[in-house]
Symmetry: C2
Subunit: 345 residues, 2 copies
């Protein structure tokens, strides 16, 4: 089923209004969550609505948060999200980082008391229009990954997203988990009864799990072994610990608990004009990304792809032709719509 972006936005806005959020916040969530789907983040956009709704109805997320700066220097700030929807909190943090970068060349904002905020590229992309680079990190909303060498899940998929603007070409947009696979992708394989590629999940003996029916005993594998584990811990420290947000054992599984998650994020904006002429930098970005995209592919492979290119293509396609929704997702959104007494998308 294909849904027009405007209809999806309308549905999301009405859903949040029905859940008790102020109109302006509900509208902003409609825009941001729909944008996630437009760029192809199919497991991080409207797909999450039933989960968000469930947490709001359980009182696990604050409907009317007082999102505020609790500490500030010329180049930095700490934002307390007052347990509001993560999208609203991180967008505010991003705006503050951009304002600071405008004046000081760089702005870095730490976030505490936030929640799941959708895909990181939403925020990393925001400074692009201001000729800035965006860097976003988040502590994952549940721990499914042990530190390298261990079997206790003390780390999340802790993602990083970075966006760098081009001039004529598309921007560079990297948005990645520090685990080989997310649990979302594993759930999809499980649903379809497909086996898991080796290297995604291991059991408590460190042995690969490929039977997707056994996914729930599995531990996520970090990219590059100790390296991905180190990156996930680095993000836990920068986005979590530094901001008095949850990290390690403090992380609350947002699927299972009704407690506040105290999710941490970090956002940095870098003003390109602080480094060189903006046009010159953007031309060099174009040239580098063009060289990468045009380089010789592995014979018989899928070709060389620049991070962000697929998202750009999907965005154009979906703005024009609508957003494809899986029948199971449509069902769950219809159920939610009827519960909230609003029109389904």
């Amino acid at each position: 089923m294909l849904v027009a972006a405007s209809d999806l936005e309308r549905f999301i806005r009405q859903a949040f209004e029905a859940l008790g959020l102020p109109g302006a916040d509900a509208e902003r969530l409609g825009v941001l969550i729909t944008r996630a789907d437009l760029y192809g983040a199919d497991t991080h956009g409207v797909f999450r609505m039933p989960q968000y709704a469930s947490r709001l109805r359980r009182g696990a997320v604050n409907r009317q948060p007082n999102i505020r700066v609790i500490k500030e220097t010329v180049g930095t700030a700490v934002v307390d999200g007052d347990n509001g929807m993560g999208h609203l909190v991180v967008e505010r943090a991003t705006e503050i980082a951009i304002d600071k970068a405008e004046r000081t060349g760089i702005g870095w904002v730490g976030v505490r008391e936030s929640n799941h905020a959708g895909p990181g590229f939403l925020y990393a992309r925001m400074p692009l229009a201001r000729d800035m680079i965006g860097i976003y990190m988040a502590v994952g909303s549940s721990n499914h990954m042990p530190p390298w060498g261990g079997v206790e899940s003390l780390l999340g998929t802790n993602p990083i997203a970075v966006a760098v603007p081009g001039l004529e070409g598309p921007p560079f947009v990297l948005d990645m988990a520090t685990s080989v696979s997310s649990f979302g992708r594993i759930r999809v394989k499980q649903q379809r009864g497909e086996p898991l590629p080796e290297g995604w999940l291991v059991d408590r003996e460190g042995k690969p799990i490929t039977d997707s029916k056994r996914a729930d005993e599995g531990l996520l594998v970090p990219i590059g072994g100790p390296k991905g584990s180190g990156l996930a811990l680095m993000i836990a420290l920068l986005a979590g610990t530094l901001n008095t947000a949850a990290a390690g054992r403090e992380v609350v599984d947002f699927n299972k608990s009704s407690e506040p998650t105290n999710t941490g994020h970090a956002f940095a904006a870098l003003k390109i004009a602080a480094f060189d002429d903006v046009l010159a930098v953007k031309r060099r970005v174009d040239a580098l990304l063009r060289d990468i995209a045009a380089s010789e592919p592995v014979p018989g492979g899928d070709g060389v792809r620049v991070p962000g290119a697929r998202g750009e293509a999907l965005y154009r396609e979906r703005v024009a032709g609508g957003i494809p929704l899986h029948p199971k997702l449509v069902d769950s959104l219809r159920t939610l719509a009827s519960e909230l007494k609003i029109a389904a998308p």
Copy 2:
């Protein structure tokens, strides 16, 4: 052979003096390069002296550079290294970032016209004593890694190093390449006639190379496939392109060429007091790292290790008992010493 740190420092200082560097610069290089060995970076410390000497003698590196800030804002700077030794250039950049962070909460310094600077942790560790976090990125000094899906080596091992101070426990110090293995480790396997683990190198068809004799046809594999490739490209953009330093096809192989490499780096210092009480943050860092280190290990594995712990242990060991040098390295340093008419270590 075990060498005292002071003797290694003396050797390195005298070598650089003999190569025409000012005394103060030679002394600083002695300290920094020895420090790399003290912390266990056996392929990035004194091991590189013959290579550094060769480039200096070929006139490929500037003996008396005018390292200077060419652009500056409140929170950022661009440092031009004037093709000097990378260690001197990056140390200067780090000092500037720390000064800026002291006043504005964060400092970010981009570097151009630099050279190979040894292991990144040297710089990432520098802000620790000032109660700051250090973040370092560098464009690798040769391209051995293709972008994911490709076979043209347009990326280096582009490393990132991050250090976060603890209170009573050791700091978190991550220092990693974005490739599964460095070429240095592969050369060691080659020298010993050992096979390569699958996943380190592939041929131009994308098939694994495990015969270390075939290493020179090999392409490095990024961690996590497209993810490591994306991280390497992100670092090329932030440490290279943004600072008018080399990236992609512009990268000059420092082993093969006598041209300036125009190596790029990026350094950020984050002042902890801008986020929360310093002692409180450090206590939380201690607690998180302790939880990780004490977590249940994979049965029969090597245990759970916190990034930086091995370096700390080696540092203590080597300060007390000396730095072990491989017989082949001792030979090459003796040759260099006799060429430069100085005492060998």
